[in-house]
Amino acid sequence: MSISTVTTGFRPSRRSLLAGSAAAAGAFTFGFTIPFGSEAQAQAVVPEINAWVVIHPDDKVVIRIARSEMGQGTLTGLAQLVAEELNCDWAKVTTEYPTPGQNVARNRVWGNFSTGGSRGIRESHDYVRKGGAAARTMLIQAAANEWKVPASECVAEKSVITHKASGRSLRYGQVAAAAAKIEAPKDVALKDPKDWTIAGKPLARLDTAPKTDGSKIYGMDLKMPGMLNAAIKDCPVFGGKVKSFDAAKIKDMPGVKHVLPVGDSAVTVVADTWWQAKTALDALPIVWDEGQHAKVSSASLAEWLKEGLDAPNAVVGNQNGDVKAAISGAARTIEAVYSYPFQNHACMETMNATALYTPDKCEVWTPTQNGEAALAATAEASGLPIAKCEAYKIDLGGGFGRRGAVHDWVRQVVAIAKQIPGTPVKLIWSREEDMLHGRFHPLTQCKMTGALDKDGNLTGLHMRISGQSIVAGIFPQNIQNGRDPVVFQGLNASGPEASIGYTIPNLLIDHAMRNPHVPPGFWRGVNLNQNAIYLESFLDELAHAAGKDPLEFRRAMMKNHPKHLAVLNAAAEKAEWGKPLPAGMFRGICQTMGFGAYVAAVAEVSVSDDGKLKIHRIVAATDPGHVVNPAQVERQIEGSFVYGLSAALYGEITIKDGRVEQENFDTYEVMRLEAMPAVETVLVPSGGFWGGVGEPTIAVAAPAVLNAIFAATGKRIRNLPLKNADLKKA
């Protein structure tokens, strides 16, 4: 059922609330369909072929997508994979989200909803394609049954089934109802990717038009009959609490309906409009109990992490040979200390959710990267069983990891809704709240020690990481023997996810965990970001110390890592590494592996005499195994460089008096169009595996630029962001 078909009759049910927003929006058309609850299933005229595919009598194909669309194009890419095996007419394809509650009720028939770690396509390609293939088989069988011929004599193409011998044909829409009653095949064969005609092609996204005329509805835009609006302030010092607030001071302000505590650390004002709520909240006297972290600063955290660089206790992530012996016996040792600051995700759409609570049902509408986690947070915060809760996903105005693992804003809105049962309430975070209460890219430092022999070969490398563990902050149950495996992203000895691309005779990579009170989060690219900066910058240092070309220095250690090497070579060739550049232009190169994909980049920069950096061009190569939509992969790579370079150039969250200092984009600068370099992507999918594309290339943005800056200036920037560095010629 399409949301735009429901135009009247507001009812306080899960579906009509969203439909109500459509009706209230009048002439707007919607880019997404209404979640189909059990109620919708019961009423549905069109039965599903299987969990993934619904075909209407007019041949419209509805493909169900479990992952969340946040701009990365997964809606289109996953639909391409299903449609490829379904052999349907792509022009007739639309998509819809199943709800997390439905997934629970149907024994997780749609699998994992989590949309992070660049895993939307790479971890579901197999079962979504099988869903499409099974549906095709059932449709063909339905036609064969009608013709009383063997299914093997029938073929399906572009939503039409043909019996060649008799020349008869039927459209998918004509046999869909019969196909829905056929038993699903137990096993289906998938096409060889070389035979793809829908997947693998640069097809247009399915969701562009509503993003150009204001009609697309984001979570922040939801409207429901009788809905109130909430603004919130959580204690600015993490771990602090509300001591008191003086509601009487603001209760008569325009529109104010409620002034309420939210847990023990936050206060909300609920009003007719959000602007009224925010205005009153800003006027509300609140006394905080700032707790034990009120004296923490960026400087005190840096001191603490620095101590970890030489601490005796550390957890080993990757080790071979005897690094101590290699260093003590080296012709030359090189040492350097790097650091990487906290970052905020700063999604353009701030955190928000709408909730309706009654004593026997709690429903939440929210942009989320993980509908099931949003549902779990709803159940936990409402105190109701999962079966009495539902979470409805709305496309995100940016995610980048902020809206995945932690659903703090969902817990808040439910805590508010629970205090005003029967009234829908929409909570929107101000930008300031969003900046102060991020789940930040972790804070780390790294000490690199390299051993060179007399010929300038790298014989030993010790990489000591000191600092924050995301896993310890979010999934502490996954820390075993003090080890956070995600800390070593891109540095693992082997494996299909994130392995190091070099063979170094004596190697030790270890981690001294130091967890500040500032809550960490999975930030697009995660730990690959700083690990690639540390390793790839330092390899550049070693190459220069050894008097070797940075590309050749790397190649000498990559013989056993052919996939890493092939991508590095692809970037180098496209960028014409080794060919002289115009005067004043300089190159840097790097490579890494993460999220199952191999990536490399070459950056071309110039630095003026007064220290102004310009990034002219970046060549980025990637091997994600298979490419489902090359046009969207290119956009992901371009976008990843903006995200990565924003952090490298400007991104820095600092702590003073236990709280975040940056409250908006005036102090947390991000990249704008003016700084955008030309990005040339080189796609070299080698097949045989499935890697991600949303994140990996972020990690090569900064090291390529930092290495190019060294080439241009002789200055090695080891502490980001670059805005703090003096690049003036000495």
């Binding site: 562009t208 940016g398 995200y643 908006n664």
Partner: protein, 155 residues
């Protein structure tokens, strides 16, 4: 009570005079295509046209807008999404998440109306909206395509 001319219609609105135009549009008038991103005129997600000039509505109080001024929001840029900038956005598939794109499109439409032959340098200095997905390369390509088409700024 204030009177506003929004997308060619006179509308009575009831809101405190210091309410930013953005929130009047979104919460009083129900036009949610104009987005809240920062509230301090930094990101441009709230860009609308006032008498043809790109204006960040989040920092403009209702009191400062008169009934004579013509406000155009993304919903009123064209009746059917056919404005050359909207068409270029679709052709080049500029949006990713799309949240900032109303503002990008409104800023671009105003720029090209005033300067139909905008150069890359003009675009770099005039389009200062923030996009966290990183669509800048496609934004630039789409704008240059509209410039090449020469469909804006005539008359």
């Amino acid at each position: 009570m204030a009177k506003l001319n929004v997308n060619g219609k006179m509308i009575d609105v009831e809101a405190a005079g210091d309410t930013p135009l953005l929130w009047v549009l979104r919460e009083q008038i129900g036009l949610t295509g104009t987005k809240y991103g920062c509230g301090v005129a930094q990101c441009g997600a709230c860009t609308v046209h006032i008498d043809g000039v790109a204006t960040r509505a989040c920092a403009l109080p209702l009191d400062a807008v008169t009934a004579e001024q013509k406000i155009v929001t993304i919903e009123g840029l064209s009746p059917d999404g056919s404005h050359p900038v909207q068409q270029a956005w679709i052709k080049h598939e500029v949006p990713q998440c799309g949240f900032c794109q109303s503002g990008m499109i409104m800023a671009t439409a105003a720029l090209l109306q005033a300067n139909p032959k905008a150069t890359e340098a003009d675009i770099a200095s005039e389009i200062t909206n923030i996009c966290r997905c990183g669509t800048y390369a496609r934004v630039k390509t789409a704008i240059l395509d509209v410039v090449a088409g020469g469909t804006l700024g005539r008359g």
